[in-house]
């Protein structure tokens, strides 16, 4: 598969503070990437570097281009929904659709209207009169109506209620993910993307702590519910995480075979949240 986004030793500093350090990743075409990390980990900064919105040190190629030099050309094939509301509030919804239609060669007005018809947003409304949730819905409608090769969503469902969130992810799965388009979803709401992503990148304190396909992540990490009296044996095997559940101990192991672990406990499905917690607790140095 061709690589759409590639960074090599990408570093971002704000004065003396290092926000991203030696980030090297490669994102293949057609993959759905979960870029996960706690608040302030550097997810949004990495995305903005990839899009050429921030200057950086090191190398970065997005869709084969230098994003800092060719941001506007890159955006012909890339859609970005940032984590903070940034739509120009003085526009009306109608004006925004007209503007996008004239500016973006891959924007479909009819598709955007189709998405908006499922909401309570009216075309004549000025954006400053819309609620935060409606603004998020509007921005997502614009994103989904743009036929881009690369869609980057930064905390896309913040501000949406549970029903809207479910609908949004359903639309992403049904309408957008066709195996050719590439998605990067940055979020700290891991449960939402757990069943969606094909590749996982964990970031903490500006460093990549995990960068693997979902399949290999699930092979690599094993969750074991210890048999009564065997918790001590499992503890001796250096688990990456341990927690008490209803009086029994659940361990998370990295790089151990399930057969080896099955002697001491019951193998359970590993959840991304557990891996996330283990990875974020790990010392990044």
């Amino acid at each position: 598969m061709p690589v759409l986004v590639e960074t090599d030793a990408l570093t971002k500093r704000y004065k003396n503070q290092v926000v991203l350090e030696n980030v090297s990743i490669a994102i293949e075409e057609g993959s759905i990437v979960g870029l996960l990390g706690p608040n302030g980990a550097g997810k949004s900064t990495l995305i903005q570097c990839i899009l050429g919105l921030l200057a950086y040190e090191g190398q970065c190629r997005t869709l084969g281009r230098d994003p800092r030099r060719s941001r506007h050309l890159l955006m012909e094939n890339t859609t970005y929904v940032p984590d903070q509301l940034c739509l120009p509030l003085w526009l009306s919804v109608e004006q925004l659709l007209q503007f996008m239609c004239s500016i973006h060669p891959r924007f479909s007005e009819s598709e955007a209207r189709r998405f908006l018809n499922q909401t309570e947003i009216k075309g004549s409304s000025k954006l400053y009169k819309l609620s935060k949730g409606m603004l998020v819905q509007l921005h997502l409608a614009l994103a989904l109506a743009t036929d881009s090769q690369l869609l980057i969503l930064d905390e896309p469902t913040l501000g949406l209620d549970v029903t809207r969130r479910k609908e949004f992810w359903k639309q992403i799965i049904n309408d957008y993910s066709d195996g050719k388009r590439t998605l990067i979803i940055a979020t700290h709401l891991i449960q939402e993307v757990e069943h969606l992503v094909s590749h996982l990148i964990l970031i903490n304190h500006g460093r990549i702590t995990l960068n693997q396909s979902m399949d290999s992540v699930l092979e690599h990490y094993q969750s074991v519910l210890a048999f009564p009296g065997r918790a001590q044996d499992l503890r001796a095997m250096n688990p990456v995480k341990e927690q008490e559940v209803f009086g029994r101990t659940v361990f998370l192991f990295e790089g151990r075979s399930p057969r080896e672990l099955a002697q001491y406990g019951e193998i359970h499905q590993t959840h991304l949240t557990d891996i996330f917690e283990a990875a974020t607790q790990r010392d990044p140095s």
């Binding site: 704000y14 890159l74 940034c86 120009p88 526009l91 004006q95 503007f99 004239s102 500016i103």
Partner: protein
């Protein structure tokens, strides 16, 4: 950059600033209102109502009204363009909408270019349309009022040749004036791109303080007044506008141009205009560079 996209960017500027029409509408309404109040008061309280009208051939009154209002609109136009240039790149950072504008396939050059085009050409045209509409409305009420009072000045007020040539003259003034002031306006644009929203420095403040400091420091430190002389030369057209308002040139009926057209056309032969244009382009290029470097602050 294709024409459709550029037009969309200009239209966006018009939407953001409500077509730049609101202040003109307010000004026009005030002028019409006070004009009507004045006429009513004169009609009510003056027993020997008399209106002196200029000789209708050499100084048609309608054209003089156009010029008078043109002076007011022209001076405000300059302030409005300066204010637009000083705020346009600053505002998009203040409301964070620049992240959205940068996430669409439009280069910084095209964005800044559309703003410069809007300031230099679109705002003057909109202003001119508002000026002509206001002048015609005022002239209509003035003619109606004088008719009701038994005077007939329709010929002097509505001499078509003078009205058309004055309107075209004002169009030329409105389009030339921003070009002449381009170096100063582009400086305002540069300050707009430069001022940081984080420390909330007003771009207009920066745009004025730095030249003021230069005006004070140059004679003190270097013993020269090159900057002051350049500014004095830059503001010459303002004198020209005021002079033509109070000492209007002789008008000829028909579509022949008033003499003052030539004065404005002469601006294009002035090397200052072209040097100023070059300085304006350099400031604009720097504004593009700064917009390119703009980052979201953490």
């Amino acid at each position: 950059m294709n024409v459709t996209r550029f037009a969309a960017l200009v239209r966006r500027e018009l939407w953001e600033r409500h077509w730049f029409i609101r202040p003109w509408l307010i000004l026009s309404c005030l002028l019409v209102f006070f004009g009507l109040v004045g006429l009513t008061l004169v009609a009510l309280f003056s027993t020997t109502f008399e209106i002196r009208v200029q000789d209708s051939v050499t100084h048609p009154s309608g054209a003089i009204l156009f010029l008078g209002l043109g002076t007011i609109f022209g001076l405000i136009l300059l302030l409005r363009i300066a204010s637009y240039f000083a705020h346009t790149l600053h505002d998009e950072r203040m409301d964070r909408s620049y992240v959205f504008w940068k996430s669409i396939p439009v280069s910084d050059t095209a964005t800044v270019g559309s703003k410069v085009f809007t300031g230099l050409f679109v705002i003057p045209v909109v202003t001119w349309v508002c000026l002509i509409a206001t002048s015609l409305i005022l002239l209509f009420f003035l003619s109606l009022a004088t008719s009701l009072l038994g005077h007939n000045f329709w010929g002097s007020f509505w001499a078509p040749g003078s009205l058309i040539s004055t309107s075209l003259y004002l169009a030329a003034v409105f389009l030339t004036l921003p070009l002449w002031f381009f170096p100063l306006l582009a400086w305002f644009l540069l300050c707009s791109a430069w001022s940081s929203p984080r420390i909330r420095k007003s771009p207009l403040f920066m745009a004025l303080v730095i030249p003021a400091a230069l005006l004070l420091l140059e004679p003190l430190l270097l013993g020269t007044d090159l900057f002051a002389s350049w500014l004095a030369k830059l503001f010459t057209p303002i004198k020209l506008i005021l002079m033509h308002t109070y000492n209007p040139p002789h008008w000829s009926y028909g579509l022949t141009m008033p003499v003052s057209w030539l004065d404005w056309a002469r601006l294009f032969t002035q090397p200052e205009l072209w040097w100023g244009g070059l300085i304006g382009l350099i400031f604009t290029a720097l504004a593009v560079y700064l917009r390119h470097r703009t980052e979201s602050h953490r």
